[in-house]
Structures are given as C-alpha cells and as structure tokens.
C-alpha cells in the first residue's frame, strides 16, 4: 500500500484489535476459535505495531486527526519518539502475552471467552490510543477506556467476593487518578480552551501553576503506576486478575502511566523546577523500598510479584526524579543518562515482569495453587516454565547479563554524577539516595530468590504437585518470546540505547549516542570508558564457559563415580518436605530487621499449647493510617447525609418547598 505513514499502520493496528474483540462477541462461547485463532491474530497485530514503532524511532513526528469524537472536537493523534518507545514496548510485550493467552484461557472460567476477548483487545487498543493521543480529550477518553476494560478483565472471576472488592478498589483509585490528570491538563491549558498538546506546550505557565500541574500529574499518573501512597490497588488487583491480564497490567499498563508522567513533566509543562525532581525522587525511593520489603514477606506468588512491580515503578520514579533534577540545572547529558535508564528499565521491566506473571499463570493452572507454602520442587515437573522463569527472576534481581542489570546500572551511574549538582544540599543528599537504590536492588534479589526457590526448587510441599504438568506449546511460545526480549535487552544494551536515543534527544536535546558510537556494540560506556563501562557479552561468555567447564571437569574427573543422593542432606536422617524452609521462614530476617515498616499480627506457639501453631500476617501501614480513616470519614459524612433521607415524602416535599421559598425570597429583583 503506497503512502501509508507509520501512524496509519498503528491506527490500523488499533482498529484491528477492536475488530478482533468484536469478532469474539460473535461466538462468545467458542473457546477454541477465540483462543486458537483470534488471540494469535492479536499477537501478530501487536508484533506489527511494535515493529512499526521500532522503525519510526528517530523519524520526524507524524500527526493524524480522527473524525470520531464530539462535533468540532476531533481526536488529534501524534506519533513521536517518546510514544514510539512505549508503543514498541506495548506491541512486543503484548505479542508474547497474546500468544501465551491463546493457550491459557480455558472453558468455564469466569467471564465468557468472547467477552474476555473483547475486553482484552479493547484494553490493548486503548493503550495504543493513550500513547498516540495528542490532545487532552483523546487522551482522557483512551485513558478511561483503558481503566474500564482492565477493570472488567480484573473481575473476570467476579463470582468471588474478594475479586469484586479488588476490582472496586482498582476502579476507585483509577478514577481518583483520572480526576487529577484531568485537572492537570486543565491547569496546563491556562484558560486558553485549547486542549491539544501543542496548545499546552505553547502556554507559558507561572512557576506556581506549572508546579500545580506537575504535582497533579504526579498524583494522577502515580495512582495508575502504583506510587506511594496510591499503590494499594496493585497487590489486590494483580492476584485477582487472570495471569495474562496481570502480565499486561503490570508489564504494559503501568508503563502508560510512566509515559504520561514523562509526557507532562518533560514535554508539556515547560522547564522544570529543581524541587519537582526531588519530590519524584523521594516518592520513588519510598515506593521502591516499600515495594521490595513487602515483596519479600508475601506468601502469595502473584502478590509478591505485584509488590515487586511497585518496587520497579519506584525505581522508575527515582530515575525520572534524577532526570528532572539534572534537566532543571541544564545538565542535559546527565539528564539523558537518567532518562535513558528510565526508558531502559521500562522496557526491561515490561519484559521480565510479564514473563514472571505468565509463569505464575502456568504454575497456577498446573497446581491450582497460588500460595507459596503449598508449592515447591516444580522444576522437575515443569522444566520449561522453571528455566524460563529463571531468566525472568535473574533479570528482576538485577543480575548481569540480563536486562534488569543494565537499567539499574545506568541509574546508579547517573547517581554517581550527582555530587556535581550546583546546589549545596542536593549534591550531598542525592548521592545518599543511591545507597537506598542499591539496598533496594539487593533486597529485590532476596525476594526473587524466595520466589524462585520456594516455587521451583527443593521438594514438593504437597503430594498433589506430582500431577503438575508443564505448559502447553502456545504458553511455551509466549514465555520463550518474552525471555528472548529479556536476554536481548541484557546482551545488546548499546544497540538498544542507540535506538532509544531519539526519544531522549527529543525531550532533552541531548543523548548518549555520540559517546556510544565511539565504541562497538558490545560495550556500554555512557560517559567514558575510563569512568565506567559494561560489556555484557563478556559476562555471558564467562558464565557459559565456567558452567560448561565445571560440568566438563565434574564429568571427567569424577567419571563413573557420580551418584545421586538427596541434596543438602546435612546428615539429617529423614528429610521430608516439611523440613524445608517455608515462605514465611525465609523472609523472617527481613521481617525482623525492618520490623517498624510492617504492621504484623503474629501468633507464637507456647510450650503448653495442645495444638501449637505459628502464624504471621503482614499488613500495610498505609491501609490503616491513611485509607481506613478516609473510608471512615466518608462513611460518617454519608451517615450524616442519610439522616436527611427520612423516607417520608412529606419531608422530601418540605425540602423542595423550603428551598423554593428561600430562593424566591433571596433572588428578588
């Protein structure tokens, strides 16, 4: 087809998703048709969108106007480098998840498959439109469509009361966030009535109103992303949703919020003030630390991953904050470094977190069990899932040579330059934040060891686990695709950053490309090789070689003398699955060290107990100190208002009568 721009292809992709969803409605109960035909087509569309975005990176912005919308208020769309990065993320990750979903959705689970297909693809299409929107109106419509479709996806198994509750909480916070975003856009138009993004860029806001717009955007997008203190929906909604949906929400939807925050703070609102960055940095740090600590103490595998997502969003917030600080002091090179870390971490997290959520989905289908305390030893029954999950876990723990390491390394590199800030306090306080980031990365490793070790290693904690089966071919294909993304992002950082660079350049006018091009594709030296450089390929080769060498040595030196015996026997006579460390036991040191961070209810057995038991429940401080008081206040206010509602018609009439009399007395000419 001639003369089709990239943005046209993306619009075709969005419509294709919508059409696939509608086709799903035609035969809502035909699981086979929907799963094996519609979802793979959706995956192909995702791949198309991702590739188009990849090719569009570095090009000039393209615009389009859609005639749908209100009269005289059409949708303005624009594809620039910032959108392209996130569309690339959306398309590539959605492709993997859709392929996986083709094998995942079965008959008789909650919502009819056709309806699910519609919700799922509308969700995808709305995320694409959010990323393309070029005016506040189109953005909000797409944003709300995204919130609603994902709400219905979360409540797929709406027969369960807890899931309905999780869905409600999600919808509530999504709407609070949407109001803040809307207000932020309203402030940015500064009364000109021009709601297009181009119009907002043209406005010169006073520092006060610019700050108001930025803080509103931070709150609004933070609610969607899961920044403190609006994170509470995340650990409820993610376990409630089916695994592909959790993967999509955690991997992609949270990133649309990051996109929105970047769009507002770097593109729309004008020059940032230095303290904006400090706010984002502080909130991000608190979120990251909070998320990772709570992740370590969870005993539900999907909750654990949800808290881990909170942690990663916190790290992204830290990166945005750092970039804003550098940007406000016109240190664009360093701002570019921090911003690159944000982009890279978005891509990396989308890959590995989706991968891990999908792995929990396979485990869930194979064992019908989400609680870590009842899993274990699954590497023997589900080798594919276990090995692919290992890739995700290592990336999530931030180990080289995988994707998570690159972004965290870039972020820390950015921090190492913060003593150069021309501000007396910042240049001393910000480096301290780097220490917290390092702590977060280390504890994240701990949480991931727990996640992987308890589920896949050791002995099976329940006999029923013997019947667990590995993932099917579709599921495997989806997992392999996401693992491939994770590995590629880890091994080819310089190549990827050269593509990302266009977006950094668009937002800041500076990038890392020149310095990277001085070296080859194998070497990542963002500032100079004397200062710091990273060659993932060397790590990869070293790891492969040493593993192979070790194996070779063992096989040759101990040739014929290898024997199989229980691992970690330690001379203990009988070693059953109950002797293993439990999920709670494993995280006990963290619970001890960070005791004030948790709200714990513990029961210890005593010597006199007939049936001794130990239990621990960890709850969120925020829930008790922030949300419950607000809920109580709302309840109290509504009881007050209920007393107005006596149920007597005469009283109701009296209200209107008195109002009428007062009005005609007051409103006299």
């Amino acid at each position: 087809m001639p003369n089709l721009l990239a943005i046209d292809y993306l619009l075709i992709a969005a419509s294709a998703w919508a059409v696939i969803g509608l086709i799903g409605l035609v035969a809502p109960r035909n699981t086979r048709f929907i799963a094996k035909i519609l979802f793979p087509i959706g995956a192909a569309v995702g791949l198309l969108a991702g590739s188009v975005a990849l090719l569009a990176l570095g090009g000039t912005p393209q615009t389009a106007v859609l005639v749908i919308g209100l009269p005289d208020l059409p949708f303005h769309l624009r594809l620039d480098n910032l959108s392209a990065i996130f569309i690339l993320l959306l398309g590539m990750v959605a492709a993997g998840i859709s392929v996986y979903a083709a094998g995942y959705f079965r008959e008789g689970e909650g919502t009819a498959p056709g309806l699910l297909c519609l919700e799922y693809h509308v969700f995808l299409a709305s995320m694409l439109l959010v990323l393309l929107a070029d005016d506040a109106y189109a953005f909000m419509v797409a944003w709300e469509t995204m919130a609603l479709s994902s709400f219905f996806l979360v409540t797929t198994n709406h027969q369960q009361e807890s899931i309905r509750r999780a869905g409600f909480l999600y919808l509530l916070i999504a709407h609070v966030g949407a109001i803040a975003i809307l207000l932020s856009f309203g402030v940015m138009t500064s009364g000109s009535g021009d709601y297009s993004f181009a119009g907002m860029r043209a406005q010169q806001l006073s520092p006060f109103w610019a700050s108001v717009a930025y803080l509103l955007a931070l709150a609004g997008f933070g609610a969607k992303a899961g920044l403190l203190p609006l994170h509470v929906w995340l650990p409820e909604a993610h376990p409630a949703a089916p695994s592909p949906v959790s993967a999509l929400m955690s991997g992609v939807m949270l990133k649309t919020a990051i996109y929105g925050l970047l769009r507002v703070s770097f593109d729309l609102v004008g020059t940032p003030l230095w303290w904006w960055g400090v706010v984002a940095l502080a909130v991000g740090l608190a979120t990251a630390l909070f998320g990772v600590l709570y992740a370590t103490v969870q005993s539900d595998m999907k909750r654990l991953l949800a808290y881990s997502s909170i942690e990663n969003i916190g790290l992204l917030g830290v990166g945005i904050g750092l970039a804003l600080i550098f940007h406000s002091y016109r240190m664009e090179g360093l701002a570019a470094l921090a911003l690159t870390a944000v982009f890279y971490h978005s891509l990396a997290h989308a890959g590995f977190k989706s991968l891990l959520f999908l792995c929990t989905g396979s485990v869930l289908h194979a064992t019908k069990e989400r609680s870590l305390g009842k899993l274990g030893g699954l590497i023997h029954r589900m080798p594919w899932v276990a090995w692919l999950a290992l890739v995700g876990v290592l990336a999530s723990a931030g180990l080289p040579p995988l994707s998570g390491f690159v972004s965290e390394w870039l972020l820390l590199q950015g921090f190492l330059f913060s003593p150069g800030l021309p501000h007396a306090w910042l240049n001393m306080v910000v480096p301290v934040a780097a220490a917290v980031v390092a702590l977060v990365a280390a504890v994240a490793g701990f949480a991931m060891v727990k996640f992987y070790g308890i589920i896949f290693l050791g002995q099976m904690r329940e006999t029923s686990l013997k019947h667990a089966h590995d993932a099917g071919p579709w599921e495997k294909a989806g997992l392999v695709w996401l693992a491939l993304i994770t590995v590629l992002l880890g091994v080819l950082p310089a190549t990827v950053i050269l593509r990302i660079d266009a977006a950094t350049r668009q937002l800041l006018g500076a990038g890392l490309a020149e310095r990277l091009q001085e070296h080859g594709w194998w070497m990542l030296a963002p500032i100079s090789p004397e200062r710091a450089s990273y060659e993932p390929i060397i790590f990869l080769v070293t790891i492969v070689l040493s593993v192979w060498l070790g194996r070779w040595l063992v096989h040759h030196l101990y040739h014929g003398r290898t024997r199989r015996s229980p691992a970690w026997d330690c001379g203990y006579h009988f070693q059953g699955p109950r002797a293993q460390d439990t999920a709670e036991g494993f995280s006990q040191p963290i619970r001890r060290i960070f005791e004030p961070m948790f709200r714990m209810a513990r029961h210890f057995p005593t010597a006199r107990d007939k049936q001794p038991y130990y239990s621990v429940q960890v709850e969120d401080h925020f829930w008790h100190w922030l949300y419950l008081p607000i809920a109580r206040l709302a309840n109290w206010l509504s009881t007050l208002i209920t007393s107005l509602q006596g149920g007597r018609i005469a009283i109701y009439l009296m209200y209107s009568f008195i109002t009428l009399i007062l009005l005609i007395l007051v409103a006299r000419p």
Partner: protein
C-alpha cells in the same frame, strides 16, 4: 389601582380570588371526594378566567387553552380521580399530618410572602391580568403545602394537579399564557402523571394494604 376598574378586570380579579379561596378550601377539606370536587371547581374557575382574558385580548390560542382546561381539569381528571377513589375504596377522611387550623395559618403566611414577591414582577408586566400574579403564586404554594401536610397519596396527587392550576394562572396572568406547544405538553404531562400515579396507587395498596404514604418510609436504604 383606581377604584373604577373596567368590568373585565373586575371579573378576572374576582375569578382569581375565587381560585385562591378554593385553594384554601381544599386545604381545609377533610373528605376526599369533596376535595376532588373542589379541584374540579377550581379548574372551572380557571377556565372562566382564561376565557375572559381570551375574549378581552383576542389572543387566539387562549381559547384553545381554555378549552383544554375545561376538558382536562374539569372533566377528565376529576372523573379519573373519582373512579380511583371508588375502585380503591378509600375511606372518606383525609388525615392531615398537621392539624388544619395550623395549616391555614401557615397558608396565610405563604399568601403574604407570595404577594410580596409578586409585587415587583407584576409592576414590570403590562398585561391586563397582572394583578393576579400574586394570587397565582399563592395558589402554587398552597398546593405545595397541601402535598406536604397530607398523608394519603391521593391528596398529594390533587395537590400536584392544583399546583399546575396555579402555574397556569401565573402564565395567563403574566404573559397571556405559554406558547401552545408548551401548554399542550404540560397538559399531556399532567394527564400521564395522573394515570401513572393511579397505577402506583394500586401498587402501593397491594404492597402495604394501605394508601398511607407513611408506609413508604420503609423503602429507604438501610
């Protein structure tokens, strides 16, 4: 106003006064069937008053309005209400929430308010009927008061319809009536409203074995 009013103005004022008197009478009336008759009478007076205005001003559409009033408010609606009362076998007594003398006193207060409020407006108006605006407003308020102070659902319907009479009077007195379309629409609304409420009466009685709206307090949340 001068002492020597022209005849038509005297007639209009007379009818308006009668309408107000009837509104008070309705407020004081304890028997449902008589209440409906009073309502019909009020409608008839309204018809006469509109007719006088129509003849005097030669406004064509006012004849239609008058005809509509006669048809709906004097004949059709009272007939529907009578039938309802007979079918539902409502007992004669209307039970007020507040005793009737107090209601009358409150009503007088309302009339004073209404006249005071209407005074500046009627000075702006140039119609021959401007003096009756205060009365019209008072009728609206008295009807409202009746809706508030009565227990039986059917008296509230009568109150509602009587309020519409007041509005109609206000419209004719201030601006020679509303446009025909609006008037037709309102007439239809009133008719449909009465019919729907009639259906509701049956439902309410089925549900509570009584037409006392007191029982509907149970319908609220929690």
């Amino acid at each position: 106003m001068s002492t020597a009013l022209p005849l038509y103005a005297q007639l209009i004022n007379l009818f308006a006064a009668v309408i107000l008197l009837l509104a008070f009478a309705m407020l004081a009336q304890r028997r449902v069937l008589l209440l409906i008759d009073l309502f019909a009478l009020q409608g008839f007076t309204l018809f006469l008053s509109t007719l006088v205005v129509a003849v005097k001003t030669g406004q064509h559409h006012l004849y239609w309005s008058a005809g509509l009033t006669l048809l709906l408010k004097v004949l059709l609606l009272p007939w529907i209400l009578h039938r309802l009362v007979r079918k539902l076998q409502i007992k004669g007594e209307v039970e007020p929430l507040i005793n009737i003398p107090t209601t009358m006193l409150v009503g007088i207060g309302l009339v004073i308010i209404a006249f005071n409020v209407a005074l500046p407006i009627s000075q702006l108006s140039h119609t021959i009927t401007r003096g009756t605006l205060g009365i019209a407003l008072a009728v609206v308020m008295l009807a409202f008061l009746m809706m508030i102070t009565r227990k039986k659902a059917i008296t509230q319907v009568v109150g509602f319809l009587s309020m519409e009479n007041g509005l109609f009077l206000a419209a004719t007195s201030a601006t020679y009536g509303m446009p025909m379309v609006v008037e037709l629409g309102i007439a239809l609304d009133v008719l449909v409203g009465a019919i729907i409420l009639g259906v509701f009466f049956f439902q309410i009685r089925d549900q509570f074995d009584s037409l006392d709206i007191h029982h509907m307090e149970r319908l609220k949340d929690n």
